[in-house]
Amino acid sequence: MLFKRLVGILPVVFGVLVLTFLLVHLVPGDPVEVMLGESATSADRSVLRAELGLDKPLPLQFADYLTKLIHGDFGVSIHSHAPIAGLLAERIPATARLALLSLVIALAIGLPLGIAAALHYRRWPDRAATLSALTLSAMPHFWLGPLLMLVFALWLGWLPVSGMENDASIVLPALTLASGLAAILTRMTRASLLEVLDEDFVRTARAKGLPERTVILRHAMKAALLPVVTVVGLQLGSLLAGAVITETVFGWEGVGRLLVESIEKRDYPVTQACVLAIALTYVLVNLLTDLLYSRLDPRVRFNA
């Protein structure tokens, strides 16, 4: 069944490839003009266009691109002439580190807040947690980032403003990136736990005289976490998308920033490779989430 799921990914990846290729080639802006400027002759432009393969019809260009991709060749950057596989190998670990730390922070903030809110439904902890979640989700990253810089870097002097110079540099971008997910997790955990707390098995556990902590952590949370796992899987993709803004604001040299730079320079091959890398990660994380879900809940099986 796992094999079936893996095969099922292929049409998705192909769809992403086609869409990215078309979108990148259909937006206005010509890499040849970006490279040669305005004083180049038409002959120079034609030569370079032919050299880059941009003079061929789009389907042929796509076929070339696909053939190279199957052989593991992402091509080279039109501007820096650097192999794209190398660029991605440099940038993916930075984005992965940022996304994973953001996930950990979001879980560490979202789960306790959600539990506190559910256990004290309609009392001040619930209101405080809900308000915090709403505030966090309403803050765009390009605004929250500089705000955190102002507080933690300038006023408190605890962390660097931006860059990747030392280990501390990752904290502020990770907090910024985690904010949205933390808010979603808070609300999700709260809603899920509230639902579970009304279930018979929780009542039974309490009736058995188990301590409240055991009832919540060992019984209720186990069931309440199932939908949370799904949300975490889906939101990991959003973390990658959010990294595009966060990495730009914080000068974090990850895939998101590479993507933005490549779009500005109309560096088609780099844009395509970045989008493909992000899409693949999204698809694989979703697959992993499904697998984990089936482990956590025996009722869910792929052949069901």
């Binding site: 004083s39 660097p160 500005e264």
Partner: protein, 488 residues
Amino acid sequence: MSAGRWLRLALAALILPVVLIGCSRPNSSTEIRFAIAQAPLTLDPRYATDAASERVNRLIYRPLVDFDVHFRPVPALANWQCRDALHCRFKLGTEGREFHNGTRLTSLDVVATYRSLLALKNSPHTAEFANIAEVAAADENTIDFTLKAPDAQFPARLVVGILPAALIAQNHDFARHPVGSGPLRCVEWNRALRLERISDRQRIVLEEVRDPTVRVLKMLRHETDLVQGDLPPELVAYLRSQPSVQVKEVPGANYSYLGFNLQDSLLRDPRVRRAVTLAIDRDTIVRQALVGGSRPATAILPPEHWAGNAQLPPYPYDPEQARSLLQQAGVPLPLKLIYKTSTDAQRVRLATILQAQMRPAGIDLEIRSLDWGTFFDDVKHGKFQLYGLTWVGIKTPEIYRLAFHSQSVPPAGANRGRMQDAELDGLIARQNWQAATERIHALLPYAPLWYEGQFAAMNRNVTDYAPASDGNWDGLVRISKNIAEFEN
């Protein structure tokens, strides 16, 4: 577990990473850190066209020719003599003759650099040198250029940095590992570009920080020592009010303008273009919405340029006259025009000011803010009525040929408004720049706006740095930093 404990746990999760990693220290090293808005794209001067690359390459490499304060070509590596309109001989001087790899710069390196420029298929500069018929070394210090057609501006074109011939032959990757003979050498270019001054081994680090607010925050926290340009006026004013920061401003030479599409049914009428030009209150914008050192403009080249024209009268703000011109032209009011600009916040803000200023003249300006690639593509393809741009780092009057000659319509040049005027073509061909600027001033293919001032903000312990009128970073050759002052 009580609610308080759960909440404390969440709070701890928020604060813990900050505290665990501990307090970071601001930059107190001897390195001078310079936060720039855009990193250079390439350190190979044969390919560089963006402002950041050209500014860094000026420091790493040395060209044959440079410019003085009046933008006249002056010797850099070599002085020259043109025997006739087709033959120029360049003699290398004594300064800057050692490449950073220890080899000596000779005429063979000059020849190799220019021959490689002519042979490259994907260099934006190749077309500029297409007029060179031959470049040859007469001896170790002498280079002879032979041209296909007479070109009085030829020496002023030889501003490309010289590369070592041996490395050109090896196809060396100058883009990432530059080797020049300039006052600064490249130590490494990883996340930041680390340069070292040859004279005293002072390290200078150029770090890309795209967000203007972040650049200011880094300045205030001493994570960077210097920022230059690319900040909105209110952030410059804020920096000026900070006791730890000094701001230096100089008059700018980069020309901002509003371009007209002369093929547009409305804008092909000179009265309409004049009306739009009279509907802009430049003085107020310069005073209120631009950084210090900005001044109203009348032509692409500033008055202090040897080919500048200080006699051109500025267009006043006269919405009444603008309105009556539009009525004379038979245009129904309000006149609806679309103005295209980039997404840069300051450009959009200036567009809204123009929109408000034009309203009393009966012009209803619709602003279209587009991402840079789309915007510039539209401009080059003539898909606009009005657009706003700035010419950066212009040194020679050849810009008038590139921007207004009838044969320079894109893709053959930058005549984006499709100006077609035989008289102007003739003036440009005869290089009669005074008359050409007067003609352009009368025809108004551009509504002249302003030369935006240049500024640099630096920490108090940074000395010997001043911004240049075209925004170059030549001041890095002299800049110094007093560490003791910082630590006190």
